[in-house]
């Protein structure tokens, strides 16, 4: 029940790009130094984000990456889904339709669906800007 490093690094990288935004493009080398993750591993992750349209990239000298939108316009859930795949707690919820012949009588299925809902609900109501502000939004679900 863990988010992999890909997802965690992706989030940190997006935040890094936001925090160090000067209008220009930022090289992976710099992000790597700040975040303490190898350039080559960041490459894999940044490629996913870039292909999803979340980043703009420029090659060559003075090249690099930058956010293609404002921080408030990125939901953390979207970033995680790009790198982690669907945020489902069990494999049978992976597809669009439930992929299991015992789905009909499966007594645990509604439970897992409910878990997925609370997870997606949480990650989708948080944006990069929220994390940058560091002011945790009031969260009815996390209260007693």
């Amino acid at each position: 029940m863990k988010i992999s490093t890909k997802g965690r690094y992706a989030l940190r990288m997006m935040l890094d790009l936001a925090q160090n935004d000067t209008g220009g493009y930022i090289a992976l080398r710099d992000i790597s130094a700040r975040q303490n993750v190898s350039v080559k591993y960041l490459e894999q992750i940044v490629t996913l984000l870039s292909r999803a349209g979340y980043l703009k990239s420029v090659r060559g000298s003075q090249g690099g990456y930058k956010l293609s939108r404002k921080p408030a316009e990125y939901r953390v859930g979207d970033i995680l889904r790009v790198t982690e795949g669907k945020l489902v707690p069990v494999a049978c919820l992976e597809g669009d339709t439930v992929d299991c012949e015992r789905a009909e009588e499966c007594i645990t299925l509604p439970f897992w669906q409910g878990l997925q809902e609370v997870i997606e609900n949480y990650v989708d109501k948080t944006t990069l800007a929220d994390l940058l502000d560091r002011e945790r939004k009031s969260d009815p679900c996390s209260l007693k």
Copy 2:
């Protein structure tokens, strides 16, 4: 971001024991046949539940397992924690204190802590009896 088969099978096994409760002990062979999981694999899982005090076991002929409490007295979260370990989305939340030297300035930490809260909150408010009743409890977090 997945619950492993151990956790899922554990939940199904507990429900199976509840549904087929006749007062006596139920052999793994029977559970295996119903749930379509090998006896040998179930053994590993049932041992964890047994050691946690969630099941009573008897050896020998006519032996087997049974629930040691009523279904309403098992929180699904507890069952998952026995088999999955702590239900944390990132490793640094594993211990009692945050295990990371950059914890202080880590901008993503509160986000992960919040995610853990909504997950634990959900799994701990569901009991085996709830699943057996199949009536999903009203859940403010899962509503639009």
